[in-house]
């Protein structure tokens, strides 16, 4: 291979890998592929419920003794989670992160994600399904807990951003990249929550 080692100055150290803009680009590409992998997992969960509903073996997908839970509490979870994501989205549009606005947004997002997670856990624990599982109940619970995991991860991201923002250490490329990562994940958690809620509530 023809190579020329004599050109291109290298300003980066081991952890830096180039300019702040390049570090940011790397983070964006990485989070997109993380979301892609998670999207495939969510789709696998969702399509399983769709398939089992279509199959409805011996009418056992949702036996008559079961009632469908109301979709409203789940919608509440989606809305609260989406508000949390909105709080984080502001960070994506804010070129100059300031200690004050990032701290307030991250704190708000953290509270909302935790609230959404707790509400989701409450919805799952009070769904009112009786003894003996069905395929619908199985999907309902697994999809519901998947949403809790997503919200938990989003809350964790918000917590990290909040910790950083509280000390005002936001000027480095890594800080910016971390905020981007947490923000994109928060958006995805809200979208995944909406998808999961729609399937759990209406494919039955």
């Amino acid at each position: 291979m023809a190579t020329d080692f004599a050109t291109v100055p290298v300003p980066e150290a081991h952890h830096g890998h180039g300019t702040p803009a390049e570090a940011l680009q790397r983070t964006r590409v990485g989070v997109v592929f993380f979301i892609l992998a998670d999207l495939m997992l969510v789709l696998a969960f969702v399509l399983c419920q769709v398939y089992l509903k279509a199959l409805n073996t011996d009418h056992a997908f949702l036996p008559a003794r079961f009632h469908l839970p109301s979709a409203l509490p789940g919608l509440g979870v989606v809305v609260v989670g989406a508000l949390g994501a909105l709080a984080m989205v502001g960070n994506l549009r804010n070129q100059e992160l300031t200690r004050e606005n990032l701290r307030s947004r991250a704190l708000l997002a953290l509270v909302l994600f935790v609230a959404a997670g707790v509400l989701q856990a409450y919805v799952l624990s009070t769904a009112g399904f009786g003894a003996g599982a069905s395929a619908y109940v199985s999907s309902f619970y697994v999809l519901g807990w998947l949403a809790v995991v997503h919200l938990g991860a989003a809350a964790f991201g918000s917590l990290l951003v909040l910790g950083r923002a509280s000390r005002g250490r936001l000027s480095t490329a890594r800080a910016r990249a971390g905020v981007e990562f947490a923000s994109w994940w928060a958006v995805w958690a809200a979208v995944a929550g909406l998808l999961v809620w729609a399937v759990a509530s209406f494919v039955a």
Binding site: M1, A13, R26, A37, M40, V142, R167, T172
Partner: protein, 631 residues
């Protein structure tokens, strides 16, 4: 400003007192915290639920968390949470293993070369464990009705052999070499996310004890495919397998994101997609494919686990579930996974052959196009594993067609391989010998696969030893041989010493001869109707099974020679500090041992693809090798 580290800086010796190192996060602290947390979680879960399944699930959930925290994997997030500043450059270099000596292999080290070598040892370990299981299987099958293993234990051993070997195969190229050589090949100083890189390895590492726990919890009887409903019918050992597999998949996901991001964003100036070495293309496509298909397998294992532990009914017909759903979830991963394993091997072949024929890679676009074609088509072929499952007859022909179609891009790759060999100045060194073995064996594996892709012949052959022989010809005869090619090729770069050639040739010929005799005899057993995953067989199949067993033991002998060669060469091998094969890819242009940041000083600028062997205007890298990496 960049940090300049002299050649060999990454291989520095330990300066910190060993006793003090023990109290910093390392694999021992990880093991201790992981075990402590697992025991506590098990105790609490047992007190609350009185259920062995919940107890096991709690322990297997707590173990990796404790292990990773004990390893120091959470140090960076904790730093964020407490609002501390970014690590200093010195801290980053220390985390990357600077001056840590051999200790860096036993802690959370971010340097991609360290992670690559860690993966290599993990692959060796998995191959050893899986190989020992294979020996036990063949001992049991040396005579019909053997009492060497109880049938239940036989099932567990067969399943574990399959899982260990598949796990090893999935990471055998993209783990060691995807980590060690790919960043250097593209002209990068490290992976895009070095911490995630270390995390992916230690996640994979943490999955192994969980998988092994199946032996302590009763084993499992499903074989490596972990089919429901058998998997959900009360085997406690299956919970260990579910959690172990989930951990392993998480590891591959993290690794895949990292490799994909690295290749997209960290290519050096002039390293266009058209100039990317085939190995890089192959690893990139392989992990991208894994990223798409592995979540389906992950879902199947989550559902199997919840069916066992929480009594859901995903795979129980009486509860509205479907075992056929499991088969689809599994094979949506299961067949593309063959290509997750195979594609990196194609890439390594394409990079090794030109080096040992001293001519440009023939039909480079064919190879890249072929690999892309295989990647895309492979997600549309899974149902050919389900021809005898009672699937809708209307689906049979389309899946036969897609499965046959995949032979076209594969054929393009073979065409390019043969075209490169044609009239080349063949330099019969060990890497090329293993590549030729790959070509020979994989061809047999591919041709016998046609009979399993066609429903009429598959109906008769399904569930027989013919299938077992077929996929051993592709995975072992093909991919494992390619792994050995890669090991013999890159061992000097990774360890600074060549593997012994004489021992290597003995290893090669014993393995080749024994492999082919053992598995040709297995084809015969299968054609005679011998069922796979059964601890005994009809008496008339004894001669073929004796042949298979004896020559399988021969493969074991070959592997022992290889292991001896590795350990011996690490200490006494011929020193190899330069470009020992005269290769033109970038990893051979940097010094050995590779500096911590790969390229001291400036990054290279690429002006041509790495296959210009024998071309008048190509740079003769052999002459420039010793100092070209110094910038």
């Amino acid at each position: 400003m960049g940090v300049t580290i002299e050649s060999g800086g990454g291989q520095g010796t330990a300066t910190r007192p060993p006793a003090r190192r023990l109290f910093r996060p390392n694999v021992l602290t990880g093991l201790v915290l992981g075990i402590v947390l697992a025991v506590i979680a098990a105790y609490v879960a047992n007190a609350i639920t009185q259920s062995a399944y919940s107890t096991a699930a709690a322990a297997f959930t707590a173990w990796p968390i404790g292990f990773l925290v004990g390893m120091g994997a959470m140090a960076y997030p904790i730093r964020w949470a407490f609002g501390k500043s970014d690590p200093t450059e010195e801290e980053e270099l220390e985390l990357a293993g600077k001056d840590a000596g051999i200790w860096r292999y036993f802690r959370f080290t971010t340097d991609h070369k360290v992670v690559g070598i860690q993966y290599l040892w993990l692959v060796f370990t998995l191959l050893t464990v899986g190989g020992l299981a294979a020996m036990l299987i063949r001992i049991n099958l040396i005579e019909p009705g053997s009492k060497a293993l109880a049938p239940w234990n036989y099932n567990t051993i067969v399943g574990f052999h399959g899982l260990a070997m598949i796990a090893a195969s999935i990471i055998m190229i993209s783990g060691p070499f995807g980590n060690f050589v790919v960043p250097i090949m593209i002209g990068a100083r490290d992976m895009a996310f070095p911490r995630l890189n270390a995390l992916s390895f230690w996640l994979a590492f943490s999955s192994v004890p969980v998988l092994l726990m199946t032996f302590a919890t009763g084993g499992f009887s499903t074989g490596w495919t972990l089919y429901a409903p058998l998997a959900t019918e009360g085997e406690l050992g299956m919970v260990a397998i579910n959690f172990g597999v989930i951990l392993f998949i998480l590891s591959t996901m993290v690794s895949a994101v990292n490799i994909v991001t690295t290749v997209i964003t960290l290519r050096t100036k002039g390293m266009t997609w058209a100039r990317l070495p085939a190995t890089v293309w192959a690893v990139f496509l392989s992990v991208l494919l894994g990223l798409v298909v592995m979540p389906s397998f992950e879902a199947s294992q989550v559902f199997t686990m919840t069916d066992q532990v929480f009594k859901t009914t995903f795979f129980t017909a009486s509860g509205g579930g479907s075992a056929w759903l499991y088969e689809n979830l599994f094979w949506f991963m299961g067949h593309p996974e063959v290509y997750v394993i195979a594609i990196p091997a194609f890439g390594v072949v394409a990079d090794i052959i030109p080096v040992f024929t001293r001519k440009p890679l023939f039909g480079r676009p064919l190879i890249v196009g072929g690999m892309i074609g295989v990647t895309v088509i492979s997600v549309f072929v899974w149902a050919h594993h389900l021809f005898v499952s009672g699937m809708a007859p209307g689906l049979v022909a389309p899946f036969m067609l897609t499965t046959e179609l995949i032979s076209i891009p594969t054929g393009l790759i073979f065409l390019a391989i043969v075209g490169t060999l044609w009239r080349g100045k063949i330099w019969t060194e060990l890497p090329l010998m293993w590549v030729l073995a790959f070509v020979f064996n994989f061809l047999i594996g591919g041709i016998t696969g046609i009979y399993l892709a066609d429903a009429p012949s598959d109906i008769g052959l399904h569930g027989t030893m013919f299938v077992t022989a077929h996929f051993h010809y592709t995975l072992m005869g093909g991919m494992l041989m390619e792994f050995f090619a890669a090991v013999y090729f890159w061992f000097p770069k990774m360890f600074g010493r060549k593997l012994d050639t004489r021992l290597g040739k003995i290893h090669f010929w014993i393995t080749q001869i024994c492999f082919n005799v053992a598995f040709l005899a297995m084809f015969y057993s299968g054609l005679q109707g011998m069922a796979r995953r059964v601890a005994s067989y009809a008496a008339f199949l004894t001669p073929a099974n004796v042949v298979t067993s004896l020559f399988a033991f021969g493969i074991g002998v070959g592997m022992c020679i290889f292991a001896y060669n590795v350990f011996r060469s690490l200490r006494h091998g011929e020193p190899a500090t330069g470009n020992v094969w005269g290769s033109k890819t970038l990893e051979w242009q940097v010094p050995t041992p590779v500096p911590l940041e790969n390229f001291t000083g400036a990054l290279p600028v690429i002006t041509a693809d790495p296959y210009g062997y024998g071309e008048k205007d190509a740079v003769e890298v052999v002459a420039a090798a010793s100092g070209s990496g110094e910038g």
